[in-house]
């Protein structure tokens, strides 16, 4: 069997059975229906990949900051190896196997998983690799580590160099990197860039991001209409990872999500019946927070994690009037707007802006800072974050974890710490 095929088939089966199970619910509520639509998008992604693997079609290994719109406009099947492993690891022994390997334990669990996964052959061998050198130091080394894996040694690769700043000059530099990426793809895959299609895709993505932003405006209301990190997870995955950019069904999904959230707000329906505490999760969701502590917070404290950096929508519409403006807009999005890269790449400014703005916009009661061990930069932000929260009179719960590896900080220990933190604020369990 070709490398990666088994994992994508399993991936497909997970989502297909999820759809089956949810479809059998006699009277599914609006959130369950939304979940079904999300699974359908994931299923499409799996089917595309299975087709490409089985039929030897060119496959791009991508990174979400590299403007995946470009791959779609060139008709190139693309996937993010990191996301594949993260999305499927709850259903396999991926984490256990990773711990048996020798990837550096002091680095990000996501990077460890990605290196280990490629070594163990669970990732499709791509035709080309479009790597990203942000947000962290380990990104570059992850790509280099892949090159040492048999079968991956001679895959043509390009990694786009990110600037540090957030000026138009910086965005233009990265737009030039995107041009180099296009030339690289044309050379190594035989595919041609279709700028007419890129314009259509960018227009469609502008609509998608606008709908996501509408949904977020609903999340800002009390009570929060969706469950902990739910919208952030849907949005992060469906916009940036499993989506074929320009897919109108993806846009429809986001419009549906916004509509569901708005309807619930209108009717005063919260995901948590008795909402007491609204939490900002100041990082990506990671792989376990939503499932492992989200329901516990809601049931035990009436606390809901309203949003995270993954769900933030600072997206500026891409100007599709000409090729240069599109590439400029995609560059700005890739290095300055998509989550994690936005907060981690440059100085502390955007990180603090996001915490401040989200705390205000979402009527937040406290900030959770998960201190992800892969985010060395954010470790150096802690002093700034404390000062900001003190200024805002915002309780801050800071801990150290690996947001992609629940073994690093066991869930029961985290729950205990949260309980202590809540008690210190005078917040008691519902029962």
């Amino acid at each position: 069997m070709k490398p990666g095929l088994e994992r994508f088939q399993a991936y497909r089966n997970v989502f297909a059975s999820g759809i089956d199970q949810l479809s059998q619910i006699p009277d599914p509520d609006d959130l369950a229906l939304l979940q079904i639509d999300f699974f359908k998008l994931a299923l499409k992604h799996a089917d595309r990949m299975i087709d490409a693997i089985e039929n030897d079609k060119p496959i791009v290994s991508e990174w979400y900051g590299n403007a995946c719109e470009i791959y779609a406009a060139m008709g190139l099947t693309h996937f993010c190896p990191v996301d594949l492993i993260i999305a499927t690891q709850p259903f396999f022994d991926t984490l256990d196997r990773m711990h048996e390997g020798n990837t550096p334990a002091d680095s990000c669990g996501l990077i460890q998983l990605a290196v280990d996964g490629v070594r163990r052959g669970i990732v499709p061998v791509p035709t080309v690799i479009c790597g990203m050198l942000e947000p962290c130091d380990a990104q570059s080394l992850m790509h280099e580590a892949w090159e040492t894996v048999p079968g991956w040694e001679n895959i043509p690769s390009i990694a786009l160099d990110p600037p540090y700043g957030s000026t138009d000059e910086d965005f233009q530099y990265f737009a030039d990197e995107l041009k180099r990426e296009i030339a690289f793809l044309e050379e190594h895959t035989g595919a041609k860039m279709d700028y007419g299609e890129l314009k259509r895709i960018c227009d469609e993505m502008n609509r998608l991001y606008a709908a996501w932003d509408d949904c977020n405006h609903a999340l800002m209301q009390k009570p929060c209409p969706m469950h902990s990190l739910q919208a952030a997870e849907f949005g992060w995955s469906a916009a940036l990872h499993i989506n074929w950019p320009g897919d109108t069904e993806a846009t429809a999904f986001f419009e549906k999500m916004a509509e569901v959230a708005a309807n619930r707000v209108e009717k005063g329906i919260g995901a948590v019946p008795d909402e007491r505490i609204r939490i900002l999760w100041a990082d990506l969701n990671g792989s376990w927070a939503q499932g492992a502590i989200g329901p516990w917070l809601e049931e035990t404290y009436g606390a809901v994690i309203v949003n995270s950096f993954a769900g933030r929508t600072p997206y500026t519409p891409v100007d599709t009037s000409c090729v240069d403006s599109m590439l400029f807009g995609l560059a700005r999005r890739g290095i300055n707007e998509v989550p994690m890269i936005r907060q981690a790449r440059g100085d502390v400014g955007l990180f603090l802006d996001d915490v401040r703005a989200m705390s205000n916009d979402y009527q937040i009661d406290c900030v959770f800072f998960p201190g992800h061990k892969g985010h060395k930069d954010q470790g150096g932000n802690i002093g700034y974050l404390r000062e900001l929260c003190r200024d805002m009179e915002m309780p801050l719960f800071s801990f150290t974890s690996d947001i992609f590896d629940p073994f690093y900080l066991p869930v029961d220990q985290l729950q205990h710490k949260i309980a202590e933190f809540f008690a210190a604020q005078g917040w008691k369990p519902l029962k």
């Binding site: 680095s107 130091d137 080394l141 985010h375 060395k376 150096g380 802690i382 002093g383």
Partner: protein, 385 residues
């Protein structure tokens, strides 16, 4: 192990400069009105600082007694290097510096700079965005960024760095690099003229005193070295490989077990600081950018240099007739954690004996290190076979 150049007055003077952040040479220099600019790390072109008539100084938190004061600005996911640096800065141990220029050489260091600037304060601070790839486009971009930095620096200090002064500075630094190369070769002789730890002391001294004076002393030291008796007491010849390792005590601990350090691939205080030359023809800023990005030995920070890095270490081993390589790594460093993992594979594939050593920035595990090195030496020598 014999003493190498330990009795040399020049060496003793140079070594004496390495014990505190503020060396006697710096104190003396400051009394003449000289300005000291901290530069972290090799990605910052020292030549520009020299051309401005100032001292390009490589900060070290040598003698740090702890990192307690860093606790409020960093977490446990930050490495001991930046924590000790911050603690020392907060205690005023770098207050003699007139400015700090940093490249975003890693996530920790860029946050060290930011916290230093905002929470402690700097008379002058600048961060140079250093590319993570080394293509021609990146050289052009870095040259542009160096131009912006140069203008900012000139404005702040009311100095002019003209082409003539920059060319002279490049020539001086080129000369020093050649001298350091020559000295390095003397530690690689069959009977080396100096130990690895002595060599590191000399390298460190070069970053905390005026370069023209350093070059003069280096010239004399090289001549003394050539006349010095060779060291014949080492049990095994090794090289060390790692990042910004500046702890002479670690090297002394390694060598105390009979592992003579005859070469290295280290950052600011090893071969990666001097294994290149900068052209003095044409656009000098572009030349500096090209030298820093393309002509130096690669580092894990620069994507696409993996194969070259490993091959270079192998080449150094062959050139130095070393029997093994010791990888030194400060934990919680993504760059060097993965480099170690990959180099271990390379070493296996190429039958290069390799020891992986973890050390915190402040070297405190001498006993453990010695035990591990001793065992490694056994495997490299007849008795271990």
């Amino acid at each position: 192990m014999s003493r190498g150049i330990e009795d040399s007055k020049i060496y003793q003077y140079l070594a004496s400069l390495t014990h505190d952040p503020e060396s006697s040479a710096i104190v003396e220099y400051k009394t003449t009105g000289g300005k000291v600019i901290g530069c972290l790390y090799n990605q910052v072109p020292d030549e520009l600082i020299t051309a401005a008539g100032m001292l390009a100084y490589r900060p070290r938190a040598v003698g740090s007694q702890g990192d307690e004061l860093a606790e409020v600005r960093f977490t446990q996911v930050n490495c001991s290097l930046v924590r000790n640096f911050y603690d020392s800065a907060k205690r005023g141990r770098f207050d003699f510096m007139d400015g700090l220029v940093v490249a975003n050489s890693c996530d920790h260091v860029r946050k060290l700079y930011e916290n230093w600037k905002d929470a402690i304060g700097l008379p002058y601070g600048y961060l140079i965005c250093f590319p993570k790839r080394n293509g021609d486009a990146q050289v052009d971009e870095l040259a542009k960024r160096l131009k912006v930095f140069k203008r900012d620096f000139e404005n702040h200090f009311s100095v002019e760095i003209d082409d003539a002064s920059l060319r002279a500075a490049i020539e001086l630094h080129n000369k020093i690099r050649l001298q350091q190369q020559e000295l390095s070769e003397l530690r690689a002789l069959p009977e080396p003229k100096l130990t690895g730890s002595q060599f590191m002391n000399v390298m460190i001294a070069g970053t905390c005193m005026q370069r023209d004076k350093y070059s003069e002393l280096l010239s004399d030291l090289i001549e003394e070295c050539k006349e010095a008796p060779g060291i014949s007491s080492g049990r095994a010849r090794v090289i060390i490989y790692g990042g910004e390792i500046d702890e002479v005590g670690l090297l002394e601990a390694i060598e105390s077990q009979g592992a003579l350090i005859v070469g290295d691939s280290l950052g600011s205080f090893g071969t990666r600081a001097f294994d290149y030359q900068v052209s003095t023809e044409g656009d000098l800023l572009h030349n500096l950018a090209k030298a820093l990005l393309q002509d130096r030995q690669g580092e894990p920070r620069i994507y696409g240099t993996r194969e070259g890095r490993s091959e270079r270490v192998k080449q150094i081993m062959e050139d130095c007739k070393a029997q093994g390589v010791i990888q030194v790594h400060i934990p919680i460093c993504d760059l060097w954690s993965y480099e170690r993992m990959m180099f271990d594979v390379f070493a296996d594939n190429n039958s290069l004996p390799c020891l992986d050593l973890d050390t915190e920035y402040v070297f405190a595990a001498a006993g453990q290190t010695k035990t591990r090195v001793q065992a490694f030496v056994e495997t490299l020598t007849e008795g271990g076979r």
